[in-house]
């Protein structure tokens, strides 16, 4: 593209941008997929490390669902939130201090994901 008012000519070179755009989507899918798997593994590792295991239902319920440029990492039990953030019930069995497992897993992956995502545009 050239703009020439008077003696000034401006040329926009989009070749580098077009090179980055080409193949960006599959690369992004790969980055997202790797991050999701790391978070899934990290979440399960945290559950084991913090002894948040009784029957193994919580641990075995952690899974990844895939969509277009999207991954949903979730558990399949109704009490996951209580393990993550704690309860206050004053009896012998259901009183829990928070033992976060998902939060630390996401936080551990955060710098890796941001770095990999940044690399997509270089």
């Amino acid at each position: 593209m050239a703009i020439s008012p008077g003696n000034i000519i401006v040329t926009l070179d989009k070749r580098r941008l077009q090179m980055i755009q080409a193949g960006l989507e599959p690369k992004a899918e790969k980055v997202i997929g790797i991050a999701a798997r790391h978070i899934e593994m990290g979440w399960k590792a945290e559950i084991i490390a913090k002894h948040v295991i009784d029957t193994g239902a919580y641990l075995n319920s952690v899974h990844v669902e895939s969509g277009h440029l999207e991954r949903i990492i979730s558990d399949g039990v109704e009490y996951g939130i209580y393990q993550e953030f704690g309860t206050v019930n004053d009896d012998q069995t259901t009183r829990l201090a928070a033992r976060p497992t998902l939060g630390p897993a996401v936080e551990a992956e955060r710098p890796n994901f941001l770095k990999a995502w940044d690399e997509l545009f270089r």
Partner: protein, 135 residues
């Protein structure tokens, strides 16, 4: 991290707009409300993060939950949370041995708990990112 948790406790305890809504001025607890204590109460606790290890200069990048717990309603818990948010989000803590250069709320927490005996509790709060350098 003791120094940070002391700073959090002290900041919340020093704010009458928060403590006036609690069962007592010291109804602020780390990780769990002790047995036989009363509600409303605030519970804060380490959630994730640690040393960034990006450069030789030490940097802590931490996540802490701070939430209100009531035995009456989510509205009551939310009212306490709003006061806590006002003294933490984009504010600075005085942490012994450290400079707190960033503190901001990133996520909200809200859930309900029903005990086997039928008692109900409402939890409302936030997850705060707190960044520190050694002083």
């Amino acid at each position: 991290m003791n120094a940070l948790e002391q700073a959090l406790w002290g900041t919340i305890n020093a704010t009458s707009a928060v403590t006036n809504l609690l069962a007592g001025t010291t109804s602020i607890y780390n990780l769990i409300v002790p047995r036989n204590q009363f509600f409303p109460a605030i519970v804060f606790g380490f959630f994730g993060g640690g040393d960034a290890n990006e450069t030789p200069r030490r940097r802590k990048d931490l996540l802490y939950t701070v939430k209100a717990i009531t035995a009456t309603s989510m509205q009551a818990a939310g009212a306490i949370d709003a006061q806590v948010d006002a003294i933490l989000h984009n504010k600075t803590l005085v942490v012994t041995g450290w400079t707190n250069y960033w503190m901001a709320r990133e996520r909200d927490i809200a859930y309900h708990e029903t005990t086997p005996e039928g008692r109900e509790y409402w939890h409302c709060g936030g997850i705060y990112r707190i960044r520190l350098n050694p002083s």
